[in-house]
């Protein structure tokens, strides 16, 4: 009898400890969001989204250069990375047993585990060191390298979810293989692939490390991808580690903008999948 009470006591105690763990885990994360809103929102203004920075010591100015920079760098990275990742993903799903598929899968896992700063060094030695100047292009290449394995694996997983009967029906109707793949299988899996791509875009949009010595950052609005360019995460880093109070305020506001961009992309992606596929992400 006594033993049974003890066992139940232990059980309840452990559940209590787990609740404590949940609180401890959620607390810092709650605080991050609260701090971002409290310290960042007050600096947001029309000027913040339309002006470039003013010299240190003056007030005013904005981060439009970083917003444009992030859009351009991430956009270009998507142009490089998405077709390659999706194409490789289709290959691995269409020819799953081929030796190349096994190799590509293995390599994608290795790339997924590669630290982003290492990819930055790679983009530096490949492009910046050869051209002898920093460029947004090198940053885009680095981000594309990070996107490819993510996009490839989600594409493959989602194509595998398409029922075999659909493919067989199309082939039985006399569709050639490429049309079956593109207009039947791929089309069925498309919402999921869009989700995977959006998530990959959201993830690389917040990356700072690969841009540090490729896109480098700048104080000016620029549309030239062969020159250094600002980006939201780089701006957060520069302002946060800088010496001025004013800069710190801007770091919080820029971080708030960055996190809104990332969250909107991620939430949009997840809602799209949940409705169409009912897959629990």
């Amino acid at each position: 009898m006594n033993r049974r009470v003890l066992r139940r006591l232990v059980s309840n105690l452990m559940v209590g400890l787990m609740v404590v763990a949940v609180i401890l885990a959620v607390l810092p994360l709650m605080f991050i969001l609260i701090n971002l809103i409290l310290k960042g929102a007050s600096s947001l203004s029309v000027e913040f989204f339309t002006k470039t920075p003013v010299p240190a010591g003056e007030t005013g100015g904005g981060v439009v250069h970083a917003i444009v920079g992030t859009l351009m760098i991430v956009g270009l990275a998507s142009v490089f990375g998405l077709p390659l990742g999706i194409g490789a993903g289709i290959y691995c799903a269409e020819y799953p047993a081929s030796r190349l598929s096994t190799a590509a899968r293995f390599v994608a896992d290795v790339m997924n585990g590669t630290p982003s700063i290492v990819v930055g060094v790679f983009a530096w030695t490949w492009i910046v060191a050869r051209q002898k100047h920093f460029s947004a292009l090198a940053g885009s290449v680095a981000l594309a390298m990070l996107m490819i394995p993510m996009v490839m694996r989600t594409t493959e997983e989602l194509i595998k979810l398409v029922p075999h009967s659909l493919r067989e029906a199309a082939l039985a109707l006399g569709y050639p293989r490429w049309r079956t793949s593109l207009s039947i299988v791929l089309r069925t899996a498309l919402p999921g692939i869009v989700t995977g791509s959006l998530l990959a875009v959201a993830r690389v949009a917040g990356e700072t490390a690969p841009l540090l010595f490729t896109a480098l950052g700048s104080q000016y609005l620029s549309f030239n991808i062969r020159e250094p360019m600002a980006a939201l995460p780089l701006t957060v880093f520069t302002y946060a580690t800088g010496p001025y109070e004013e800069w710190h305020r801007y770091a919080w506001a820029t971080a708030l903008v960055l996190i809104l961009v990332v969250f909107v992309l991620s939430i949009a992606a997840r809602i799209a999948t949940r409705r169409r596929f009912n897959v629990n992400a």
């Binding site: 066992r7 232990v10 059980s11 559940v15 787990m18 763990a21 949940v22 401890l24 885990a25 810092p28 994360l29 605080f31 991050i32 390659l84 999706i86 194409g87 490789a88 289709i90 290959y91 691995c92 190349l100 598929s101 190799a103 590509a104 390599v107 290795v110 790339m111 590669t114 630290p115 700063i117 290492v118 930055g120 060094v121 790679f122 530096w124 490949w126 394995p149 006399g174 050639p176 293989r177 490429w178 049309r179 793949s181 949009a205 990356e207 700072t208 490390a209 540090l212 995460p233 880093f237 946060a240 580690t241 770091a251 971080a255 960055l258 996190i259 990332v262 969250f263 939430i267 997840r270």
Partner: protein
Amino acid sequence: MTSPVSPVVDAIGPAAPSRTLNRGTSSSADRFFRLVLTLAALAIPVLLGFLVFELYMGSRLAMGQFGFGFITDSIWDPVAEKFGAFPLIFGTLLSSLLALLIAVPLSLGVAVYITEFAPRVLRQPVAFVIELLAAIPSVVYGLWGIFVLIPFLKKFIFPLLRTLFGFLPFFQGPIYGPSMLAASTILAIMIMPFIMSVSREVLLAVPNSQREASLALGATRWEAVTSAIIPYARSGIFGAIILGLGRALGETMAVTMLIGNRHEIAASLFAPGYTMAAVIANEFSEAATDMHFSALAYVAFVLFVLTVLVNGAARLLIWRVAKGAAIGSKAL
């Protein structure tokens, strides 16, 4: 990806005599389709090979100069062009292991709670919030770490640790803000969502019969967790932890902003340290000599090899422990 054969012709293709004769072999459009996809798939290993090659070429100079001594030497002096990465490697390993020490019990507790104990209404929202937290960029954690976490730790947690455990060398000495312990704390917060979401998926994959069987034998719910559910999911949970370790090893921005960046190994966790990723982030754009660049590329090379080994070991262990039934391998 347009094909040379028009869709209309192709759709009626099987009726055409030439196509009937060709049945069984692929048409030229199919071959083109496969070629394009093959090129895309081929690009992945080629890119990785190129990455390794470029890292090797970049670090050749330092490799020739320092050899394997680079890993065991402790002097880092860009002016004298003497480089040794031991404190960096040590800092990377120590900060990651400390982060695991903090993050693993917490994230496993959360994962078990939301799969086994939490009210059903709470499960989906909590999982969703955790997914979002994994999406917060590293530089935002760094910003929060500098202005919120460090002041908090400095004021409350560090003095408390020093009073409680001051007899240990790890908790002695002056309290700086930026320190090994501060970096490990932010790392723990950052890797928690990853460990949580993978272990949650693994626990969800445990069949209900396991739970029901052990409860039917009279186990309390906690005993069901420790005797039936965790053992079944063990390999996947192990994979989740190693995945977290891999993340922690390569994490750059938040650590760079919080660790204090000093090329030294200190016994005290309150003292600043350095990691491989942080030194690259700090010094790469300011390096003046070829040897300095090369030494930093060498550091990147070592870091790359380390993460590949950790991820490879994780896969191997999971495969071994699981003995065929690879629970959670999909989540990885």
